[in-house]
């Protein structure tokens, strides 16, 4: 693996409802960095701040403090659409990643140009069809024969699979997956996870994947980050991670939570 820094996050802080009784610090100094090609899994209890971290990296949410660098470029103050050239993502909600009113073909064409300048060339072309078909056929869902169908006709799992293909169509530098199989039935979840692993390997992106599935957390990826109360409480490299089992991970979870109870 080369030592090219894909994503570097330093001291992110975010407080919602600052200055009111509901004040809530959701990110409390989050720092980590991922090299390109590195695949990190992010775990943590509900409300730990995982989605907020993902949203901060993607630019959907601007942080109060801290910096975000993509390939050494400071993007901290850029809106999401200006970071999209480097970042592709799959949302927890299957409805968010695709445009229901457009066809599968049109959704893919949009993603194919992620972050690029759009012009007056036709958005769809013969050359693209073959490429899109080949990408979709990896899923084994038969979507490659339904290019003209509207995405609104697809099931949640099919939409999520399509979103994943869209995300990896033009080699992102950073891939963000936020519990992207959580809303799917077990079979579809396994399928999308398989396709994700394949896509991650192929794209060489720095990948951050959030999951609540401890089996996935220990089996996949080469880094393991755990978040709690807006902080990264531990960060295992691939060697340490290989020695960890799902049961141990659950154990550490409980440990953290009972600690919090004691100090509360």
């Amino acid at each position: 693996m080369n030592a090219h820094p894909g994503l570097c996050v330093r001291g992110l802080r975010k407080t919602f409802f600052g200055g009111t009784v509901q004040e809530k610090t959701v990110l409390n100094g989050v720092s980590f960095s991922l090299q390109s090609g590195e695949f990190a899994v992010l775990v943590g209890s509900n409300g730990a701040g995982k989605s907020t971290t993902i949203n901060a990296v993607a630019g959907d949410l601007l942080v109060d403090e801290g910096q975000i660098f993509i390939s050494e470029l400071n993007v901290t103050s850029l809106p999401a659409y200006k970071r999209a050239h480097a970042i592709a993502r799959v949302f927890q909600d299957p409805m968010k990643g695709t445009a229901a009113a457009l066809s599968i073909y049109e959704n893919l064409a949009l993603a194919d140009q992620r972050g690029r300048r759009r012009g007056l060339r036709l958005g769809l072309s013969k050359a693209k069809v073959d490429r899109f078909r080949a990408s979709l056929s990896v899923l084994g869902l038969g979507l490659e024969n339904r290019l003209k169908d509207h995405v609104s006709q697809l099931s949640g799992g099919q939409r999520q699979s399509l979103t994943l293909i869209m995300a990896t169509l033009n080699e992102p530098q950073i891939l963000l997956l936020d519990e992207h199989t959580a809303a799917l039935d077990p079979r579809a979840a396994e399928l999308v996870m398989k396709a994700s692993l394949e896509a991650i390997r192929r794209s060489g992106a720095a990948t951050l994947m959030v999951t609540h599935n401890m089996e996935h957390a220990v089996n996949y990826g080469d880094r393991l980050l755990m978040m709690h109360d807006g902080k990264i409480i531990f960060d295992l490299n691939s060697v340490a991670k290989a020695k960890t089992t799902a049961a141990e991970l659950v154990e550490r979870f409980h440990h953290v939570i009972s600690d919090r109870m004691m100090f509360a």
């Binding site: 659409y81 064409a109 759009r118 060339r121 958005g123």
Partner: protein
């Protein structure tokens, strides 16, 4: 069957009127259906286009430049609505009301008075169809050809990378920005294009009736909406082609219905009420049928 005679006499004129208002229909359909943002600016950009075109023609600028000024005026009006909506976080409906209210005063400033007559000037119709301005049927034919050219251009545009991006912003803003699209920019472009359509409709109307008046925008929005809904009921909206031609077909059919209603003895002043009721019925129909269906199934239990 006296009323049929009256109706047949009205057919050519109402065909021509239908094609003029088809521009407004397109201007209403674009924000409403492609951007999913209801916009009322048409009510102000229609008379704005008329005022600008009439003043330019009366000021000796010539027909084409006058139409171009009107188009630009409409683009500005639509763009302003979008900017007020986006940057002051005002709903698109309220933003439109603010702009159309501003335009009422601006239109009087543009014309210097509440109306401008064009009887002694060359217009689109006298230039193309002779000094008398042509028969209603020839006016209809000319406008229909222009509309078809514009609709096919719009169809092409919506298939380009930019047009596809515009539709993505209307369909899902989260997805659109994740794909690198500035949603604000596309909303501004879309509503500006819609404003351009409504203003062009106004410019053509001013030349069609040979005068522009500040009050000529009252009720055009509902006509545009009625045309869109009626057209969609007739040609459907499951392809882009149908979606684009729906307001055109709808506007033409709408004015036939108006002609029929008038020949049946209805007062012209009742038309707005009927049109508004039609739009209400069309929008409320799904809810109404759902309620009736539920009640039926309850009764049958």
């Amino acid at each position: 069957m006296d009323f049929l005679n009256t109706y047949f006499n009205l057919v050519p004129v109402s065909l021509a009127q239908g094609t003029v208002y088809a521009f407004v229909g397109l201007g209403v359909m674009i924000p409403f259906r492609l951007l999913m943002l209801p916009d009322l600016t048409a009510e102000g950009s229609f008379p704005f286009g008329a005022a600008v075109a009439a003043s330019a023609i009366a000021g000796g600028f010539g027909i084409l430049p006058a139409m171009l000024f009107a188009l630009l005026a409409g683009i500005l009006a639509g763009g302003l609505t979008a900017i007020i909506h986006l940057f002051f976080k005002v709903t698109s409906l309220l933003a439109g009301i603010i702009v159309l209210t501003m335009l009422f005063s601006i239109n009087i400033r543009v014309m210097g008075k509440p109306n401008t007559a064009l009887f002694s000037f060359d217009t689109l119709f006298t230039a193309l169809l002779g000094p008398a301005g042509g028969s209603p049927i020839s006016q209809f034919a000319v406008l229909f050809v222009i509309l078809c050219i514009i609709c096919f251009t719009l169809l092409w545009f919506l298939h380009t990378e930019l047009g596809l991006a515009l539709r993505a912003v209307g369909a899902n803003q989260v997805m659109a920005s994740a794909q690198g699209l500035s949603t604000s920019w596309y909303v501004i472009v879309g509503i500006a294009i819609a404003g351009g359509f409504a203003a062009t409709g106004g410019a053509i109307m001013a030349q069609y009736q040979s005068y522009a008046d500040v009050n000529m925008g009252v009720g055009v929005l509902v006509i545009g909406l009625a045309s869109t809904i009626l057209g969609e009921a007739i040609v459907g909206r499951d392809t882009l082609f149908r979606q684009i031609f729906a307001p055109v077909v709808g506007a033409i059919i709408y004015f036939q219905a108006v002609a029929l209603a008038l020949s049946l003895g209805l007062r012209p002043s009742d038309l707005k009420l009927l049109t508004a009721l039609f739009v209400l019925l069309a929008l409320g129909l799904p809810i109404l049928t759902e309620r009736i269906r539920k009640r039926r199934s309850k009764l049958s239990q």
